[in-house]
């Protein structure tokens, strides 16, 4: 009996170790390969680097990686702020809605979540281009935000449905307007929902590719995903430089995740409701 129990335990750990190794190997190799010389990459691609050379990081940085990171940071911070603000207020109205019009507005937004950017990319590009917002940070921020809103509204909507109504009722009797109730009562008590929505949208905006590819393509204005593609195109056979660029673009984010992973995981817990 005892031994059967132990065999099961070993098998379960075996599965976890197997998948973790599969997940970890490409990431570890990405970092190790960044420290190799180009020669080494072809003679002994999977050995530990013989010396820790930083040359490849210099070559990757020279493409403008610093700019890519700065652009991505600017666009992510602005878009996430905009998304959270407008989705929060909208979800609050919708979660308290009784009219048919507001129900239809919610339905439209939920359906909007399923619309792939690629399905509307032709008219969207022409619209942004006609308005003169191609290669403008503002243009990309607004369009990307529009695509982050539906999911965030759905998240907040579920959260606000559970929100105790007594507090709002009391505030209304004191003569607070809906805006005042939202900003003074709902928001201060919605920390976890705001944090999880912000995490989701930060990952979405930081990694968004198709919109950034079409709407922000002048050399100094690329975001990280588009920049990485340029890196890969320019250094076709210089794998250490590509890997160094990838490491610089992803490892800081992974470290942030490891520190905050508890919140990432918690933010997912509300999704299944």
């Amino acid at each position: 009996m005892m031994s059967k129990f132990r065999i099961t335990k070993i098998a379960l750990y075996g599965i976890m170790i197997l998948w973790s190794t599969f997940v970890l190997m490409p990431l570890v190799w990405m970092v190790l390969a960044s420290f190799k010389t180009r020669r080494e990459m072809f003679t002994a691609p999977y050995d530990l680097p013989s010396a820790l050379t930083l040359d490849s990081f210099e070559r990757a940085w020279g493409v403008g990686l610093g700019w890519f990171i700065a652009n991505s940071a600017l666009i992510t911070v602005s878009s996430v702020g905009l998304i959270i603000l407008v989705s929060g207020t909208a979800a609050y109205v919708l979660a308290r809605a009784k009219s048919v019009w507001l129900r239809m507005a919610y339905i439209a937004i939920v359906v909007g979540f399923a619309v792939p950017v690629a399905a509307v990319i032709v008219p969207l590009y022409q619209m942004v281009s006609a308005a003169g917002f191609v290669n403008s940070y503002v243009g990309l921020i607004i369009v990307t935000s529009a695509y982050g809103i539906p999911f965030t509204v759905i998240l907040f909507f579920a959260f606000f449905l559970d929100f105790p109504k007594e507090l709002e009722e009391a505030a209304r009797l004191d003569g607070c307007s809906k805006q005042q109730i939202f900003f003074r009562i709902i928001i201060p008590l919605s920390g976890p929902a705001v944090a999880s929505a912000a995490i989701f949208q930060a990952v979405f905006v930081w990694n968004e590719f198709l919109l950034a590819l079409l709407l922000l393509n002048s050399p100094g204005r690329k975001t990280i995903p588009v920049g990485i593609l340029q890196l890969q195109g320019e250094f076709t056979s210089d794998w250490p430089a590509i890997m160094a660029g990838l490491s610089l673009a992803t490892v800081p984010l992974l470290l942030v995740f490891i520190v905050l992973q508890k919140y990432f995981v918690r933010s997912l817990a509300g999704l299944g409701k």
Partner: protein
Amino acid sequence: MNSPFGTQKQAGGRRTMSSGASNAILLLPALSLCMIFIFVPAMLAISGSLYSYGLTSPTRDFVGLGNYIKLVQDSIFWVSLKNNLIIVFGSIVLQIGIGCVLAAILDRGITFGSTFFRTIIFMPVIVSAVAVAVVWLIILDPNIGMLNKIVQSVGLTPPSLGWLGDPKISIWIVLGVAAWQQTGFMMVLILAGLQGVPQERYEAAALDGARGLRAFWYITLPSIRNILIVAVLITTIGGFKVFDFVFVLTKGGPANATQVLGTYTYLQAFTLGNLGYANAIAVVLLLIAVLIGWLQLKVSRQA
């Protein structure tokens, strides 16, 4: 007074803003952004699909359903649709299937090291698909890629055209790379559901002799039914949205074997300059999306 944003309730000279106006101020920014950048272009895609025009052409020729007639005869369109379905169903099996097993092990199978495993397996989720695809391009390289070495070391022969160069297997490789990245997301989503299953239910089942796999099958799975439905919907939507992986790993090649609706729309529009035809492909994608969005609404919690 009835306004589109709700009935005004506060009668009698109070100096507060009407509830309709309040609703409008709070709702309109989000609603108008969605309208302008999601729904208006969707409508324009539908109307644009009835014309033939290019990126720089000054005129649009009305062709009616001509683009759609061309579409049903276009084998690349059908390959793209088939590939989207392969990714949808393949991802449901791989990502939700494996995610479910991993989550169940983390929930009740092991205690020591569970945070460690969870953190590692979730890590790729936050890396951009483009970065993931570039790393895998190098791993899958036919000359010195890691996968070739591994396959050779166990005495097998890697495909002579390369993993992504062989039209018979390339779409399955794309599917595998997506699973490498996304399974951790499903694992954590399902794990959150599992942790909500009350312990008593397992104890009661154990008294009836249901443990281990039987308990998983008869207790765990039914208890997380809702979360599994959400997982299937998210995976399905993702499967039709897929673009980045294909664009970076194969550009839809070899010979359009890995084209999906998203990349085929892009190819027709921005590489070949057939905007009207690209819109027709996009409209198919749009119809599928609206259908799934409607399904999502059916299962999502309503007030």
